[in-house]
Amino acid sequence: MNATVLAPSFVQENLGDIPVARLRADFPILARSVHGKPLVYFDNAATKQKPASVIEAEKFYYEHTNANIHRGVHTLSQEATTAYENARETLRRFLNAAKVEEIIFLRGTTEAINLVAQSYGRSRFQAGDEILISALEHHSNILPWQLLCEQTGAVLKVVPINDAGEFIYEEFERLLGARTKLVAVGHVSNALGSVNPVKRIIAAAHAQSVPVLLDGAQAAAHGEVDVQALDCDFYAISGHKLYGPTGIGALYAKKAILEAMPPWQGGGDMITTVSFEKSTYAPLPHKFEAGTPNIAGGIAFAVALDYVKRVGLANIHAHEARLLAHAMSRVAEIKGMRVIGTAREKAGILSFVIEGVHPHDIGTILDHQGVAIRAGHHCAMPVMTRYGIPGTARASFGLYNTLEEVDRLFDGLKVVVDMFGR
């Protein structure tokens, strides 16, 4: 049995006209109800739901293939190794990386960024060197650099955002200087949905020989990512935000850079020879993959990528844009509702506040109506500080969401305002 046969295939007229009703049937969890109402899942920026093919792939692996990889001569181990390495190739194609050894399987975006900080950064940054990030970053693209700064004396510089939640490119140009050793920015903001001008950022940084890391945790599920066209040096992603399992993700990095980087963690699988005097390291990508990885997760991640590709990233992007436009057209109906983050280029994320109602109360009242949103700082406290708010309520869209579900969100918001309004 091949789990990918469960992936969708269909004919469509216009971009974004995806057969949502049919696709929804691929996601078993969407059949459940919450507080007696059909679930409306709008917490997609936190994690996506998984299609049956992904769930099946994990199950299939444990029922038929399970063995450790890269270290057995028996059939299961060889099959597991092949499936895992095929998954790496699927991810290479998904990101359009030039070489398969440029794909390092890791736990996710957080681990990928920490790897770059601790291997690339720690081996070359010195006191006074500067790392440039933006005010939009997720904590996982802030903390690894702060830790590195403590270790090396390097300094973190932050590109500000404007009131719309847009990266201020002119400020970036001003901050990009002779001391800048790395630019690390989000491709798409999880808190506000803003899409950063990454092509311009990369071109400007490269003009000064500064490498660029993109945090692609959000972006990869909202549109095509072509790391060669982008020409980024590092790209970090998480499987679970791409309709795949948790605990698996990857770092893409240019081969020449990876080769020059020292190993990060030591252990099995990352060596060629070991002796007490000196060990030699395995070639890429294994040099950065110490220990038994999430094998089932990697295999199922590839199934998720196939699924997403079949639906089409351009379609997903257009579909989510339509959901966002519909939501925006209804904002005025809700008394005191204000959208935070109104960037011209935006992914399907609606972050908002309602005057006099804390986001947590919005979250609880919506949950009661079966609508799952996120309330809080979204692991981006500096963004909240920038707007002078403790947090926002955030509805974020995925390929399986419908216009009717957006309407249920707004029905729910009317209940919120009614309850708090008197």
Binding site: G356, V357, H358, H360, T364, I365, H368, P390, M419
Partner: protein, 148 residues
């Protein structure tokens, strides 16, 4: 929506909209901070304790309806009480929200409007933030009370 009304009782809305004892005390004998990192709720509690009795209490901060109302009702409940009784209230409040509802506990009067919060595990911390902060203040720890 009836069970939602058990969480958001009218008293809670009232105290959220018009929190009592809201503001800074002039010469407090104790100041304590509370923070719920999960939702960003911040709270500062000001106390004037004389001869082991809470003679004045106020709070400032921002939070959800549950945490604001809880802080407001708490200040009303503890004002004029000896510290030993305040600690008993803290324990009873905590029991009401976190333990088996059939467990015996002392009567909490007005504070029982928070009983419904027990059904919302994600919100228990909102209701207990002010109380944890008070508990720290009474014990004299300088640490910021955290719900995490």
């Amino acid at each position: 929506m009836s069970d939602l009304r058990e969480l958001y009782q009218e008293v809670i809305f009232d105290h959220n909209r018009h929190p009592r004892n809201f503001g800074v005390l002039e010469h407090p004998t104790k100041v304590a901070h509370g923070h719920n990192p999960l939702c960003g709720d911040q709270l500062t509690l000001y106390l004037t304790v004389r001869d082991g009795v809470v003679v004045e209490v106020s709070f400032q901060g921002q939070g959800c309806a549950i945490s604001t109302a809880s802080a407001s009702l708490m200040t009303e409940a503890v004002k004029g009480k000896p510290l030993a009784e305040v600690e008993q209230l803290f324990a009873a409040f905590h029991t009401m929200l976190t333990e088996d509802p059939t467990e015996p506990r002392s009567d909490l009067g007005k504070l029982e409007v928070f009983e419904g919060v027990r059904e919302y595990p994600a919100r228990v911390k909102c209701a207990t933030l002010a109380w944890h902060t008070l508990h720290n203040a009474v014990l004299g720890t300088d640490e910021t009370a955290k719900t995490e």
